[in-house]
C-alpha cells in the first residue's frame, strides 16, 4: 500500500503556498539490481491538487523526478481552514490521496 504524504499549506495575502513531501521509490527503469536484472520502472505519473472541491493544479510526471519527491506550488486564493487535497497516481495504477487544512 502506498505510504502517506506530508502536506503543508499556508495562506498569505490571498496566495496559498502548498508544500508536499511524497513517499515513493520513483524507479527510473534504467537501474540494475545486484543480479544484473533491470529494476522495473515505477514512478508517479499524475499529480492533482484540489482546493476544497475545485481542481487547482495538475501535473504529469516522468521517471526523472527524484525518490521521495518534494513538490511546492502556489495557488491564487485560499484561506485558513480550507482543505487542500493532493492525489498521485503511479504507472502501476496505485494511487494515494491525502488532505491538509490551510493555516
Amino acid at each position: 500500500m502506498a505510504n502517506p504524504m506530508r502536506i503543508r499549506a499556508a495562506a498569505k495575502d490571498g496566495i496559498t503556498e502548498v508544500r508536499i513531501l511524497m513517499n515513493h521509490e520513483m524507479e527510473t527503469g534504467q537501474r540494475r539490481d545486484s543480479a544484473g536484472a533491470i529494476v522495473p520502472a515505477w514512478f508517479i505519473q499524475e499529480v492533482t491538487a484540489r482546493l476544497n472541491d475545485k481542481d487547482v493544479m495538475s501535473a504529469q510526471w516522468g521517471p526523472s523526478i527524484a525518490k521521495n519527491p518534494y513538490f511546492a506550488f502556489k495557488i491564487k486564493g485560499g484561506k485558513a481552514g480550507d482543505t487542500v487535497s493532493v492525489t498521485w497516481v503511479d504507472n502501476r495504477g496505485e494511487s494515494r490521496t491525502d488532505n491538509a487544512k490551510v493555516t
Binding site: N3, R6, N23
Partner: protein, 274 residues
C-alpha cells in the same frame, strides 16, 4: 625590436599575474563550494524526507505487534514508561532493569523483547536497508524527532556511563585494520575534509555536536534514512574494520563518547545530509 621585447615582457608579467590569480582562485573556489553546499543543505531542510520516516516510525510505535500483540507505547526510554518527548536528547544512559548502558536502538530492542515478546536476534543480524532494520531506523527517527531543539543532557555521571565513555574514547583512538586506521584519522584533527565534505572534530564539543545532534539523518544522494548505528557501522566499514554487532557495547561506547562530549548542545534531529 624593442617594442617586441616589451610585448614579450608584458606577456610574461601577465602570465605571472594569471598564475597568482589562479592560486587565489582555488582558495576562493573551496570557500564558495563549502558555502554552496551549506546553501544546498538549507534548501533541503524545508522538505526533509526524514519526516516521512518519522511518520512511519510513529505508526510502528503505536501499532500492536509481536507474540504479545502489544505496542511500544509503554517503552521506557529513560524518562519513564511511555515518555518519548526529550528522551533521545538524554541517551545513551544507564538502565537498571537491563544493568546496561544503552543507546536508543539497543533500548528499542529491549522494549521489543519485553513488551512485544519479539526475539530480536533477526533484527540484530539483518543487514541495513532490509525490512527489519528499516523498522528500527524508522522508530529511531520518530523518537529522535521528539527531541528536536532540546538540549543534550548526557553527563556520563553514573560510574557505568563513565566507563562507557572511557571505552568509547579508547575505541575512537584505536588504530587497526589493513590501513592502520582509527576514527581519529578522519575525525581527530580540526579542519579535515574528504573531497568537499567537512569532517567534524569529534573530541571537541562543537564537532561532537555536529555529528551527534544531526543523526538519524536522510542521505539525499542515497535516498536512505540512516540511524546513528548505521552511521557508526559504516565508519567501521570505511576503516576496513570487522563489522560491529548492531547495538553492541562498542557501538554504544562510541555514541556515549560523542553524546557526552556534545553535552549541552542542541538536538537537530532528524537531520539531512547530501
Amino acid at each position: 625590436m624593442a617594442a617586441r621585447t616589451g610585448a614579450a615582457v608584458a606577456a610574461v608579467v601577465a602570465a605571472i599575474a594569471v598564475a597568482a590569480l589562479g592560486v587565489a582562485g582555488v582558495a576562493q573556489e573551496k570557500d564558495d563550494a563549502a558555502k554552496s553546499i551549506e546553501a544546498y543543505r538549507q534548501a533541503l531542510k524545508d522538505g526533509n524526507p526524514a519526516e516521512l520516516f518519522e511518520m512511519a516510525g510513529e505508526e510502528l510505535w503505536k501499532k500492536p505487534a509481536g507474540p504479545r500483540n502489544a505496542s511500544l507505547e509503554k517503552c521506557d526510554l529513560g524518562l519513564g514508561p511511555g515518555v518519548v518527548e526529550g528522551a533521545y536528547a538524554q541517551l545513551p544512559r544507564y538502565f537498571a532493569d537491563t544493568d546496561r548502558v544503552q543507546d536508543l536502538e539497543s533500548r528499542l530492542l529491549t522494549c521489543m523483547e519485553t513488551l512485544q515478546g519479539i526475539d530480536t536476534r533477526a533484527h540484530v543480524e539483518a543487514r541495513f536497508g532490509t525490512p527489519r532494520k528499516d523498522e528500527l531506523v524508522a522508530l529511531a527517527t520518530y523518537v529522535s524527532g521528539l527531541s528536536k531543539d532540546q538540549p543534550v543532557k548526557v553527563a556520563a555521571s553514573h560510574p557505568r556511563e563513565r566507563a562507557m565513555f572511557e571505552l568509547g574514547r579508547r575505541m575512537f583512538y584505536f588504530q587497526a585494520g589493513p590501513h592502520d586506521f582509527s576514527c581519529a584519522t578522519c575525525h581527530g584533527e580540526e579542519g579535515r575534509r574528504i573531497r568537499m565534505q567537512d569532517l567534524p572534530y569529534i573530541p571537541g564539543k562543537e564537532g561532537a555536536a555536529a555529528g551527534w545532534t544531526s543523526w538519524p539523518a536522510y542521505r539525499v544522494s542515497a535516498g536512505q534514512m540512516w540511524s546513528m548505528q548505521w552511521r557508526i557501522n559504516d565508519c567501521f566499514r570505511q576503516q576496513r574494520f570487522p563489522e560491529p554487532v548492531y547495538a553492541s557495547d562498542m557501538t554504544i561506547a562510541l555514541s556515549m563518547f560523542m553524546a557526552a562530549t556534545a553535552n549541552g548542545s542542541t538536538m537537530a534531529t532528524p537531520g539531512i545530509k547530501r
